[in-house]
Amino acid sequence: MTDVQPILKARGLMKRYGTVVAINGSDFDLMPGEILAVIGDNGAGKSTLIKALSGAVTPDHGTIELDGKPVNFRSPDDARHAGIETVYQNLAMSPALSIADNMFLGREWRKPGIMGQVFRQMDRPRMEAFARQKLSELGLMTIQDINQAVETLSGGQRQGVAVARAAAFGSKVVILDEPTAALGVKESRRVLELIRDVRARGIPIILISHNMPHVFEVADRIHIHRLGRRLCVIRPQDYSMSDAVAFMTGAKLPEGVTEPV
């Protein structure tokens, strides 16, 4: 393990919203090709940590390195260009636009030739076919019309579209914030399979979830976040779910860790 460098590494991240401390000097390491679960109580700062890594929030202090090079994301667009794709808890979709338009928002494919280059026309048929294919891979067969507006979809279907978008376009890191919270049994299973598929392509995944069975099933390592910091990182083989819950709620301290002040 010594010569494997983390693909995404953060040190001493700090973010305050006014007087509220969201993350308090947190470290973070994502190894190449792994599924890293991040768990923690509500308000522990998981979402802010993830937003700092995905460019949606600029940390007050701390450094982030991608592939060993320091990065300074000023917007989600920067992170996306670096190959980090994120599914946010609130899904970040435009309700009035269609599924295909949403999947390609900010990276539309243009028609070849003069129509695309001079008149900048989008290649709708190609985008729609790709969107349909990605949704089918995810098993979202209840979406009838790829051109229906996202606002006509159920919460679970929307989440499916967001996950499909991230999995389709992430090239370095895929971050999933509660990807199965609104999904049905079948779709959750597909998302877990998809997470493994993405890892099989060599792309590491950060999975934030409250669903302990899911976390223990797919994660290679589990980052336990408590009071704005990384409390410890455990391997699911070494601990039980109740141990993990005990760590993240402060009921028990992992070995060798003293409670942060």
Binding site: P76, L97, D101, Q121, G139, M141, Q144, R189
Partner: protein, 359 residues
Amino acid sequence: MSTDDAPTKTISDYEAVLTKADTAVASFEKDDQTLSHRIRSALRKNPTLIPALVLLISILAFGIIADRFLQIGALSTILKQVTVTGFVALAQTLVILTAGIDLSVGEILVLSSLIMGNLAVYAGFPVWLAVLIGMAFGALMGLVNGVLVARLKLPPFIVTLGTFSIFRALKLWYSQSESIRNADIEEKAANLLWFGKGFNIGGASILYGGIMLIVLAAVLWYVLNHTAWGRHVHAIGDDPDAAMLSGINVSRTLISVYAVAGLICGFAAWIAIGRVGSVSPISFETVNLASITAVVIGGTSLFGGRGSIVGSVLGAFIVQVFTTGLSLAGVDDYWQMFAAGCLVIIAVALDQSLRRASQ
């Protein structure tokens, strides 16, 4: 699987049947073929049909009330009178689609036309250069609005209320409250009036300005529906945070929207010179509100994200049809205004109820 002697074994046991899950895309028998269902579904797919129907009905209704109305002369007058408002409504539509509003469009138009007129008539610039400089100033004024809205994150209503006064003051200072007379323009810069020219078809005089309105509307329709920029404009109006997280550069897009709106107003300034024949600092005082009226009647939501360019053009026509129709029917000016006001409220109420019913 759980049996009597072996109860549920694993936590994911319930997922075991998933291999047999249905893999076809969901589909349903269509039983919504009654007339009212079809109308509703047509309206839902093409929201622009609503203002189109309103326009058609109002033209027919006024044709019955005032017999001179359906004559070709009256109809071509409507096209002439709608031109400038139509252009400004196009600019306004872009801004309103981003959930903004631009109260300064009328002042941008008049200030641009004063710059064009002064440069071409008094400073001796060639007309094409004067027009380009006037349009550039229009875009610059839009850019100022855009930067204030996007970078300082001020509400568009406040920003453009402020720039409305600022541009108005600049307009009166620059013109010294003096008009440029039609005779001077014709003598020194006749091409400034080009869009006021036209041709006759069967007694209807069609002005180049009116044709240009249709052309620009078609261009903007294409841009909004078939380019990435157009999709981004909709997405920002829909939910700016989601647009930002999706990787859209929200502030740059917003600034470009306001600048393009200013540019369109600058171009409309040239049209307006041709339409009126002179340049007056106190002309087009009502075009701000008229453009918002047209956009709203055309079915574009003030909350952003939904609407159409074609609807706005139709909206401008509807207002003009009412004004012209009522005046041909011998109704006083103030009742025409009264009718326009009622029209806005009815149009929005109708639009809302149709949308609700169609969901």
